[in-house]
């Protein structure tokens, strides 16, 4: 081979070598940049705010669109992204849990003839939303309302319940400590069971959802009068 050809090959080799290093470094830096972008997206919203919105679109969007953008590679190689994803999946899993309450509405629920009781403003709003097809949002809100009520009762009675405990566990604890009656326990247990099933994603018919709202209203009136 001639000297000129050797020199040309040397130059080409050098260029290929430099390009190879540039491509490797660019690949690593670009991956780092994209990961940071995804980290900004997933940590932009607080998980507590998302779950307390009681809005299926907000809860679902964050999972499907924001968390959904995270690749398996991001999840494994970036501990911050991993923590955020694990935290949300953990919290969402508990939020969507059907629970173990299994109340038969025919045998155990005390439904009296005066189901048509005067409703509070909150209940009227929930019923309106129910009629417009927002059953998931309504029942998520109802469960939240029940949980707040039960926590207030627990607080007044001096009973400490961890924030992570579900509405059904709260209810059972209050009943076991005899802070609520059997009537209140059975009706709220049924309402929570309906809410849990709806939030989990099962189909709940309109009558069941209305029943849950009416029963809750009835129990709250009894609890407020005691």
């Amino acid at each position: 081979m001639t000297k000129e050809l050797f020199n040309s090959l040397t130059i080409v080799s050098g260029i290929i070598g430099i390009m190879s290093i540039i491509v490797t470094v660019f690949s690593i830096l670009n991956n780092y940049r994209l990961q940071n972008k995804k980290l900004d997206i997933v940590k932009a919203k607080k998980h507590a705010d998302i779950l307390s919105s009681n809005d299926i679109k907000t809860v679902g969007n964050y999972l499907y669109e924001d968390i959904g953008k995270v690749t398996i590679d991001d999840y494994v190689s970036n501990p911050k992204i991993k923590n955020i994803v694990d935290s949300y999946l953990n919290k969402l899993g508990r939020f969507l849990d059907k629970g173990d309450l299994n109340i038969d509405p025919i045998e155990n629920v005390v439904i009296s003839n005066d189901m048509e009781i005067p409703l509070s403003q909150d209940s009227k709003v929930l019923l309106l939303q129910l009629e417009s097809g927002e059953s998931w949002n309504v029942l998520a809100t109802l469960r939240n309302i029940i949980e707040i009520k039960l926590r207030n009762i627990a607080k007044k009675q001096g009973l400490y319940i961890e924030v992570e405990k579900s509405a059904s566990l709260l209810l059972r604890a209050l009943y076991n400590y005899k802070f609520i009656s059997s009537f209140a326990y059975k009706n709220l247990a049924y309402a929570i069971m309906v809410c849990n099933k709806a939030i989990h994603g099962e189909n709940i018919n309109l009558e069941e959802a209305k029943e849950a709202i009416f029963l809750t209203e009835r129990v709250f009136k009894e609890l407020d009068s005691n």
């Binding site: 020199n7 050098g14 070598g17 190879s20 299926i56 679902g60 999972l63 953008k69 999840y75 994603g201």
Partner: protein, 122 residues
Amino acid sequence: MKEINIHDLIDLILADVSDSEAKIQKMFEWHFERLKTVSTWILGTSVTTMVAIFLNYMNTNSTLSGWFVIITILLGFSISSFGIYLLIKLWKLNKQFISALKLHSEINKMKPFIIKYLQGTR
């Protein structure tokens, strides 16, 4: 794997594919073989080239210039840096496979909720 994201795992669950864990394993196996083949080829080629040029240069009858040898060896190192980068990715693949299965299992429990959510948005 950069190609699979959590959105893809959700779509796989919603597609009701039978034995989706086995399908995920297959995808990782393909990716593993691809990476292994490319990194072996790259490392093999670069090391072979470097050794061949170096041995030729050390031969007393060699007509290669010192500059040619230096640049070719640098080329070999830089190409093999890409091969080593692929080997590191290969090493991480096991962890990614386990994580993919774990995420798949957790998201699978939320399937009824996800179906309900998508029904409302479509």
